[in-house]
Structure formats: structure tokens, C-alpha cells
């Protein structure tokens, strides 16, 4: 009954009026961030980290606020998928397949309620799964030495690159670019500067928040200028929203199956929510007796991917908290948050800072209930927000990005660096080079090198040591498979094309 007493402690932390208020605010902001096309969960959390840090929030408050934003964005992504056929964020892409046809048939309200409930089921069950599994995994993680951690980081890069991109060379290039950037600054062991070229600003290394905000948020500005903000959502109407109880009952199986699939996909390092919703949809469509209904406004086709994407969001927190290895872009940003707050994720987090872990879990449970209330009865509020024109939204987001970095570092150099990362992000996305591995490389680069060097100290420079334990051999094999397997699987599991004809029809 360890879990119950821990959970009680967590609720003791999370149920104070202050944290509750932060959870509500976070859920609200998150849903908006998720719903607005062009502002995904990674963006939203990345923009808010420097601001919450400059506000001087303590660790638990900041964590509650930003994980609420994270979960909220996962809920919100479906709104524009259904109403506009534009996924609000990447994981919500599968929801467009049946959600938008439902909206065209005049059942937008039904689709929003079903997907809202599916999000709740997925996220709530995944949070319970997190509660049960994370302590177990953290016990396994105690077996990990530097050689195992090195292999684990490699595994994260390989699977993230393997699954998340269309070209292995490009994702590997992105990862090593990130690692290369992480090397800038003073070497921790010898205290010697590396790649600073005499520039004093670079001695401390490049702040990963600068890189994240630049790559995710500032690059978006260039995209919007290029497209002249065509992806905005003006003139959406939504009729009365009722709760379709019969449909909810009919889709409950789809929700549970989607949750299971999404949760497992989320735990795998590198897979994340997009894969979770994709697999959930494909599985649901293939077990259904009436396959032809999918893609034409089938409620189960809305319920399964939404449950899957939210369950994956919960599952992805498990490797992030227990091993310090994020499974997706957004959890990478949450890892950045933990590092900013001086919390080192890993097995020791569960024994040394239990109030952080259990407070987080309790606030996730609370956030889910808040989000269910916000996203079912109050969904109309967010539909209104969707009609903010992009020529107001984008300059606003950009300025928030600048305010965040400025108030965090107070330096013009860092802001210019952020703009440079924005240009890099734009070029990379044009070339179809994923940006998440870059972030992951910057975040994990120093830890990865550190573990390699410590392993070599233990073995006195013998490189065979890296493959000397069963765990590390397993991780190396998984890493190689995770990198190579998608090359062969890609032929069978083709990603659906992003919908393009959204506005015209």
C-alpha cells in the first residue's frame, strides 16, 4: 500500500489552493496552445519555461503549471483537427481523418465530446499506469552504470530518429548536430574551454532554453510569413454541444484499446504521442468489422487516436522521470524544465524527492479532471479562441518568446542566438530534418559524454567495457534495431499525408 500513502502525500502537495489554481491556469493555456494550429505542446511548454522561471515559481509549482499545459495541449490538439481539418499539433493528425468528416456532417459537437472523453480516458488511465510502473522501473534503473546510461542515450537517439523521420541520415545528423552544440563551453572534467572561440558568452555553453525556443517558436514566424498565415481559423461555427451517451458507450471499447496501445507506444523511448495515436487508429480500423466506415466520419476513428495520443503522453513521462531519457519532443522540453529547476530525473528522484514525483502525479490526475470539464461543457470558449487571426497571434507568440529569454538571461547575445536557432529550425524543417533530435542532443550531450568518460575511467580506457553487461548489450541491440527497423517497416506503415485542402472545402 506504498502507492496509496505516497499518493496521499502527493495530493497533500497538489491540493493547496495555489497549486490548484496553477493547474487550472495551465490546463486553460495548454488547451489554447494545443488548439491553435502552429503552436504545439512543445512550443507552449518551451515558451512558458523561461517565464515561469523568471517569475520565481518553486519547483513543484512550475512543474504543476507546465505539465498541466502539456496535458492540456494534448487535449486541445483535437479541436482544430475536427473543426478545420488542420491538426492543432502533430499527434492530433490522425483525429482529422474521421473528426473532420464528422464535422462536415454537422456532428462537430459529437466529435468534440467523444474525443474529449477519449482524451480523458486515455490520459487518466495512463497516469494511473505511470503511478504503478514508474516506481518499478526506477528500481531497475538502479542497476544502470555509466556504460548502460551511454547505451540508453544512444537508444533514445536511434529510436527517436528511426521512428520520427523519413530519412535515417537526416535524423542522425540532427542528433549529432545537437550533441556538437552541447560540447560548446567549459569541459567539466578538465575545465578547459571547448569551441568558444574566445567568446565569453559561450563559456557557460549554450542555454538549451534559448535553443528550444528558437527552434520551436521563432522558426514558426518564418513559416507563417512564408504562408501569409493561411492556416488561420476564421469563421468557424459550432452548434449546440450535447453529450451523445449512446455514441460514447459504443466507442468505449475503442477508447480502451487506444489507451493500451498508446501507453505502450509512449513508454518506448523515442516513440511518443504521434506514434501512439497512429498505431491506435490503425489497430482500431483493422479490428473493426465495418472497415469502410473509417475515414468517413466514424466516431471510433475519433475515439481511438485521441485516447492513444493522450495515453502516450502519460506513458512518455515514465522514461523521462525514471531514466532521464525523454521519449518525445515535449517530454524533452519537460526534461529541460526539470534541469532548469535543478531536479535531476532518474531513479534517485523517487527516493530523494518523492514529494516532487507524487505531487506531479497527483496534479496530473487533478489536471485531467479539470481538462474534462474544460473540454466538454466549455469547449465553445476554445472554439472562440481559434478565431484569433494569425497576424495577431504570431507576432504575439514571437514577442512572448523574446520576453521569456530576455527576462531569463537579460542578454542581447542570447536573443540573437535564439533568432539564429529560429533560422536553423526553418532550414531544417524545409529540408525535412527533424528538430527534436537536435534538442535532445543539446539536452543530453553533456550527460552522454560524461557517462562515456566515467565508463572509461572505470575500465581504464578499455572500450569493450561498453558492451560488458547484459543490460548494455540489450540496449545496444535495441538501439541498432530501433534505428534500422523503420527502414524496412516504412513500406508497410506509411504515414498518412498531412491534410492540405483544409480551407478550400
Amino acid at each position: 500500500m506504498d502507492i496509496l500513502s505516497n499518493l496521499a502525500m502527493g495530493f497533500g502537495v497538489a491540493l493547496s489552493p495555489w497549486t490548484l489554481m496553477l493547474a487550472v491556469i495551465g490546463c486553460f493555456i495548454g488547451t489554447i496552445v494545443g488548439a491553435l494550429p502552429g503552436l504545439g505542446p512543445s512550443n507552449g511548454v518551451a515558451l512558458l519555461i523561461p517565464i515561469s522561471f523568471s517569475m520565481g515559481l518553486d519547483a513543484i509549482s512550475a512543474l504543476v503549471l507546465l505539465t498541466s499545459v502539456y496535458y492540456g495541449a494534448m487535449y486541445g490538439g483535437r479541436i482544430s483537427s475536427i473543426l478545420l481539418n488542420i491538426p492543432g499539433d502533430e499527434p492530433a493528425m490522425m483525429t482529422t481523418l474521421d473528426g473532420y468528416p464528422m464535422a462536415k456532417q454537422g456532428r462537430a459537437g459529437d466529435a468534440l465530446v467523444i474525443s474529449g472523453v477519449a482524451s480523458f480516458v486515455g490520459a487518466f488511465l495512463a497516469t494511473i499506469g505511470l503511478m504503478l510502473l514508474a516506481p518499478l522501473l526506477s528500481r531497475v534503473a538502479y542497476q544502470f552504470g555509466p556504460a548502460e546510461y551511454f547505451a540508453l542515450y544512444l537508444l533514445a537517439f536511434c529510436t527517436l530518429g528511426g521512428i520520427g523521420s523519413n530519412n535515417q541520415a537526416k535524423s542522425a545528423l540532427a542528433a549529432v548536430m545537437g550533441l556538437g552544440i552541447a560540447m560548446i563551453g567549459l569541459d567539466k572534467t578538465t575545465g578547459m574551454p571547448r569551441f568558444t572561440f574566445g567568446e565569453l558568452h559561450l563559456m557557460d555553453g549554450i542555454d538549451f532554453l534559448v535553443a528550444i525556443v528558437g527552434l520551436f517558436a521563432v522558426s514558426e514566424v518564418f513559416f507563417f510569413i512564408e504562408s501569409h498565415g493561411k492556416n488561420s481559423a476564421i469563421g468557424v461555427v459550432l452548434d449546440k454541444v450535447r453529450v451523445p451517451w449512446r455514441e460514447l458507450k459504443r466507442t468505449s471499447g475503442a477508447m480502451l484499446r487506444g489507451t493500451g496501445i498508446g501507453f505502450v507506444a509512449g513508454i518506448l523511448p523515442g516513440a511518443g504521442a504521434s506514434l501512439g495515436s497512429f498505431l491506435a487508429y490503425v489497430a482500431e480500423a483493422s479490428v473493426a468489422k465495418d472497415k469502410k466506415a473509417f475515414g468517413k466520419g466514424e466516431p471510433r476513428g475519433v475515439a481511438a487516436p485521441e485516447a492513444g495520443n493522450n495515453a502516450a503522453a502519460g506513458g512518455a513521462l515514465i522514461p523521462m522521470l525514471t531514466l532521464g531519457v525523454p521519449g518525445s519532443g515535449t517530454t524533452a522540453v519537460l526534461l529541460a524544465l526539470l534541469l532548469t529547476l535543478n531536479i535531476t530525473p532518474g531513479p534517485t528522484l523517487f527516493t530523494e524527492r518523492p514529494e516532487v514525483v507524487w505531487g506531479l502525479i497527483a496534479s496530473l490526475l487533478i489536471a485531467n479532471i479539470v481538462l474534462l470539464v474544460m473540454n466538454v461543457p466549455m469547449v465553445k470558449v476554445f472554439v472562440k479562441v481559434l478565431s484569433v487571426p494569425s497576424h495577431v497571434l504570431l507576432p504575439g507568440v514571437t514577442m512572448v518568446a523574446f520576453v521569456g529569454i530576455y527576462s531569463l538571461t537579460g542578454s542581447a547575445f542570447d536573443m540573437q542566438l535564439m533568432v539564429a536557432f529560429g533560422v536553423l529550425g526553418y532550414v531544417c524543417r524545409k529540408l525535412d530534418i527533424p528538430t527534436v533530435p537536435i534538442i535532445l542532443g543539446i539536452l543530453l550531450g553533456n550527460a552522454m559524454e560524461d557517462n562515456l568518460r566515467r565508463a572509461m575511467v572505470l575500465s581504464n580506457g578499455d572500450w569493450v567495457y561498453l558492451f560488458s553487461s547484459p543490460i548494455s548489450i540489450g540496449l545496444w541491440i535495441a538501439a541498432i534495431l530501433g534505428f534500422l527497423a523503420p527502414m524496412f517497416l516504412r513500406r508497410f506503415l506509411k504515414r498518412p499525408e498531412a491534410p492540405q485542402d483544409a480551407i478550400e472545402d
Binding site: L173, H391, L452
Partner: protein, 146 residues
């Protein structure tokens, strides 16, 4: 036709060579660990070159790159953002923000009046939000104005 991937691959090979050269210049102390501060950067540089060679040899199809006029727009936006980074510290928050937000807004939707209103509105609104409500330490106007 020239593939963008090839150009990027070549650029990255040059960058990686520079990176490797710079890594050879890292000073090691004689008390260092068996690996030292150079080996990991070497591994990174070599991997970048391997990946870039793959890009040069087997490039993907080109994306739609913007035309000359859009490129000019992007360059203007870039100049605005860099100018903003430089100006916001000496000039305070409100004036540079209004100008930068206004220009960006005009670039997305070319209506001068809307853009000006957006710029001023965002600048004042965000200042009130961040300074007065959230309590961040922002300087509103150039030092010495008030």
C-alpha cells in the same frame, strides 16, 4: 537541378571539418581521464561527415523553396528580429516591441492600420501582463525618460 540536400550536406561537411580542427586545439590537462575532452567531439565530427556524405550521395526530393520576393520578406523578418534583440535592452520594452510586432503583423497580413494597431496593442498588452501582473523585471522605456 541542384538538390537542397546536397548543398546542406556539403555545408555540414565543411562545418564538421572546422569542428574537428577546432577539437584538435582543445587543451588537455595532464590530469585528464583516459578519454579526455577531445574524443567525444571527434566522434561527433566524424558522424556528421558520414551523415552528410549520405545526404550528398542520396538526396531527397526538393521541398518548395520560397521565391525571391518571399525570401526578401523572410530576410526583412530576420533583420527585424535581430534588430529587436539588440534594441530591447537600451530602448526599453514598449517601443521596440510595438515596431517589431507591427512589422511582423504587416508581413503576415499587409494591412497598415491593422498592423499598427496590433503592434501597439501587443506591446502595451504584453507589458501590462508581464510587468504588472506577472512581475517580471522589464524596463518599459529608455532609461532616463521618466
Amino acid at each position: 537541378m541542384i538538390k537542397a540536400d546536397r548543398i546542406f550536406g556539403l555545408v555540414m561537411i565543411l562545418v564538421a571539418l572546422g569542428y574537428l580542427f577546432s577539437a584538435t586545439q582543445i587543451q588537455t590537462s595532464f590530469l585528464s581521464d583516459p578519454v579526455g575532452p577531445r574524443v567525444f567531439p571527434y566522434l561527433i565530427g566524424v558522424t556528421v561527415i558520414l551523415c552528410s556524405v549520405v545526404l550528398v550521395l542520396r538526396p531527397d526530393a526538393n521541398a518548395d523553396w520560397p521565391g525571391l520576393s518571399t525570401l526578401l520578406q523572410l530576410a526583412i523578418a530576420l533583420a527585424v528580429l535581430i534588430g529587436y534583440s539588440t534594441a530591447v535592452r537600451p530602448l526599453g520594452f514598449i517601443i521596440p516591441t510595438a515596431i517589431a510586432a507591427g512589422v511582423l503583423s504587416y508581413q503576415i497580413n499587409p494591412k497598415p492600420v491593422t498592423a499598427a494597431a496590433t503592434g501597439v496593442g501587443l506591446s502595451v498588452g504584453l507589458f501590462v501582463l508581464f510587468k504588472m501582473i506577472l512581475g517580471l523585471g522589464l524596463q518599459g522605456f529608455p532609461r532616463g525618460w521618466f
